[in-house]
Structures are given as structure tokens and as C-alpha cells.
């Protein structure tokens, strides 16, 4: 098996769904140059923690990344044991639950806005989008 193609999205499964076992290369968290990086094998760096925090929209406080970095390494090392899980048949019996698309009562605008830190003219008020 050759190196995996960069999927560029979270939906880019490799052909056999198990490409990572044979291939030590991992993509970075955002589409871009492929980097030989595996947080769990090479220990996590503070840069990695800060990068994930950016994706998750959490503005880390000073010292957070340093405090989290060793904990993440321990936790991800434990998660690595999932590599040993065999593939079993998944006979999932799931059905969609539908209802008629009919008009019905909902929250009033006042109730919906009551918990907003700020609102204006009946709308939520937020920061600039860019």
C-alpha cells in the first residue's frame, strides 16, 4: 500500500478504511502539505494543542497549552489501543422518524432573546463577522 492521498476533508476515507495501519504518515489537521506527524507517537507539541484550539474556537489562556500537552499525550496513547479492535458486522437497525411538516407553536421572540447577552430590534446582536 502506498502513501495515502491527502483527503483534504474529514470525509476522505482510504479505500480499505484502515490505511493508517500500514502507513505511518498522517495529514496535518487542515488541508495542506502532508507532514510526518503523529501526536501520539511523537508526543504532542504545544503547537499542536494551539492548532486544535484554533479549530475548536477556544482562545487558550497563557499556560494552557503547556498544561494540556502532557495530558493529551497520555490520553492519545490510551486511545491508540483502538487499533486492535477487529471489524465486526454492524447490523444497525435505524429508521428515520418523520412527522408531518405542519405549522405549530414555537418560542416567542421575547423568550428566545431573553438569555442573549445583547440584542437589538428583536434580533440577536453579535460581533462583526470579519
Amino acid at each position: 500500500m502506498g502513501p495515502r492521498k491527502n483527503p483534504g476533508s474529514a470525509f476522505g476515507a482510504s479505500a480499505d478504511g484502515r490505511g493508517y495501519r500500514a502507513d505511518p504518515l498522517f495529514e496535518t489537521l487542515t488541508p495542506g502539505p502532508k507532514v510526518d506527524l503523529d501526536m501520539s507517537e511523537q508526543r504532542v507539541e504545544t503547537d499542536d494543542v494551539e492548532h486544535v484550539a484554533g479549530l475548536a474556537r477556544v482562545d487558550l489562556d497563557e499556560g494552557d497549552a503547556e498544561r494540556f500537552v502532557d495530558q493529551f499525550a497520555d490520553i492519545l496513547e490510551a486511545f491508540d489501543a483502538l487499533e486492535d479492535v477487529p471489524d465486526v458486522d454492524r447490523d444497525v437497525e435505524l429508521t428515520n422518524v418523520m412527522r408531518p411538516d405542519e405549522e405549530r407553536a414555537s418560542l416567542s421572540q421575547d423568550d428566545a432573546l431573553a438569555n442573549a447577552p445583547d440584542s437589538e430590534d428583536g434580533y440577536f446582536k453579535g460581533p462583526n463577522v470579519s
Binding site: L29, P31, A53, R57, F72, A78, R90, N115, N128, V129
Partner: protein, 422 residues
Amino acid sequence: MARDAFITEAEIAGNESGPLADATVAVKDNISTQGVPTTCGSAMLEEYVPPYDATVVEHLLDAGATIVGKTNMDEFGMGTTTETSAFGPTENPAAPGHVPGGSSGGSAAAVADGEADLALGSDTGGSVRCPAAFCGVVGIKPTYGLVSRYGLVSYANSLEQIGPIAPTVEEAAELLDVIAGPDPNDATTRDEGADSEYAAAADGDVDGLEIGIPTELLDGAHEGVVETFWDAIDELEAQGASTHEVSLPSLEHAVEAYYVIAMSEASSNLARFDGVRYGQGGGFDGNWNETFARARRDGFGDEVVRRILLGTYALSAGYHEKYYDQAQAARAWVKQDFDEALDDADVLASPTMPIPPFELGESLDDPMTMYLADANTTPVNLADLPAISVPAGETDGLPVGLQLVGPAFGEETIVRAGSALA
């Protein structure tokens, strides 16, 4: 003493008559109560007042219950000790100096200390059963889909159920009868609980009951916990039950699978807290992303940030196959193992928790230690099955719980089996 069991004390009166007309009920603070603050144990929601009641709260009030307060909990349900609450810890009334377990620690403490007759918790990976075990009371985690989650603030929605906590199995089953049943506002609910009579099953009759004991759930458990567990099994055998040991190899991977799935779902579910529609705002300095990100760091505690970050990582490009997909494979394997074991047994028994209650402060700085304490409870959530924790006795004066796991919608079976002990 258990004043610290509540984040908000209240008195919400229900109907004058009904099966719970004489009962006081404490409600976990991630279950919405109209007009009464619902904080999820988080500074993010310190000021949040729900504009509607959760379906289970409507059921409580219809049944005549009086709600006496909203109970302390690990922030958004993320913890095993109730110490990650932004409002401080709760002491275990049954074991002073120790944690009450979590995440529904306030609910279990309120019942153990008589502050409420009954309580509701929520169980994502053991959060009803763990505090029930640590506080020496009874807790039930229902089959996924038995109880409506409408109005429960989501942490990991594919795993969690609201469940009852009570001094006895019969009282817990009575409360489950009140809250179980389908709800048009929660499309994952099923019809099985509609006309339930679980309380009637609490007759203590275990004659002929076949109990399977998964060996993986005893391996590595605290010696005193294991001794107390076998004493309880002896008692069930003396009342006519028989037992056999069974191996479920998938259980060795359940904790990892649980945490990957729970953190992944948390990273998505908690994305709603942007400080604009509700919750703590980040002010208007900077653009949307900067303001949003600042509000989230200010509002969330460390354990919540840890889980959001790790969940984001487990779902990200290049890693979701290794972590999230493999965790789903493990979940299917765990389900298969449980189904096979329950072909040869009516219930499966284990210690609820592999350890006695932590001392206050003991596990806070070591998340892995806290996660591993969930080894016996998390597999049940992965398999969507019902389970009950009943008091099994004590080790060195600390409560030990016995967990009984049943087949899907087999609540009557676990209630009957558990009622032989409590």
C-alpha cells in the same frame, strides 16, 4: 450538610395528586426548568434561565412531585467526581472527605442525605450509576430511547439517558415509571416505556435468575470492592440465583471507545455556546471568531476545554479514521459481546465502580485516572443497554455498588434482580 448538593434551591410545586404527590425531587442542573436557572455546573451558563421545561420535568410535575432544587454536577456532565463544577465540589454524605461520584454527584448526595426523596440524574458513561454507588443509593441508567432527552442539555447525545436516583430500587422504579415513554419532541424515544409498571417488578424474586459475571470487569478492581461484590453475589445465590463467569474481550477497549465518541460528540454539541444567543458573551472586541473563542475560554473550565479539543482532534482530517471510526467499530463489538452474553444470562453483574470513592481533590489533576474509573459503566452506554446500581455493602467504611446490566428494554429484569438487595 448536603447544602452543597444544590446549585439552586427552589420550590416548584406539581399537581396536587399523582403518584409522586408526597415526594420531593432534586433535578440535575443540566435538565431544563422553566424560569429556574439551569447552569450545567458551568460559568458559561451561570445566568441561563430556560424558557421551557424538559419533558421529564413536565412528567414530574404532572405526577405531583415537588422539585426542591437543581443539583451540582461536573461541568456539562464531564467528570466522575462532581469536582469539575464551576460552583465548587459536593461532599459525599455517606463518606465524608470523599467525592460523591459524578457527574450527577449533587443528585445522589441530596438523596443520600435526605435533602430530597428522589432525584434525576443523567448518565452518559456512568453519571447516574457512579454517584449512586459512591453515595450508597440506587441509580438506574435506562435503555437508550426509553426516556425523553428533550430539555436535557446535550453532552454526548448518542450515549446519554436521564435516569432516577432513590434510596430503594422500588422508589427508583416508581420514578422511572413517571419519566419513561415516547415523546414527539425527541425522535430517539421508543414506545416501550409507554405503560410501564417497573415498580411492580420490584418483588425481590431472584429464584432461577441466571447471572453472568464478565471477568474483564473484575480484573484490576480494588480488592475490597471485589470482596464486597462477591458477598453481594453470595446473597443473590442464597436467594435462588445462579451465576457463571463469562469473558467479553471487547470490554478492554470500551473506555477508550467511550471517550473518543463522547469527546467527539461534545466538540460538536458544545459548539452552540458562542456567547451570542445565551451564555457568557465575549464582548465585541475583535471579529466573530475572536469574540467567540474568548467567550468559550472564559466560560468553560479545563475539563470541558480538554474534551472539546480532543474531540475536535479525533474528528479532524487524517485522524478520524484512526480514532472516531475505530471507536465506532469498538462500539459495535461491545454491543455484539453484550448481546451474546445476554443470550446465556438474564443479567450481567459487576462492581459499579472498580474503586471506592476518591478523596476530595485526589483525581483532579490526572484526567486519565478519572477516565479509567469509568471502565465498568461506559460499556453499557456504548451498548445502549439498561443497568442499575444497588448498594452492595462497604469496604473500609466506603460504599460499594453492584451493577446489573439487562437486555434492551429489560428494565423489569434489572429492577427485579436489584430489589433482592435494596
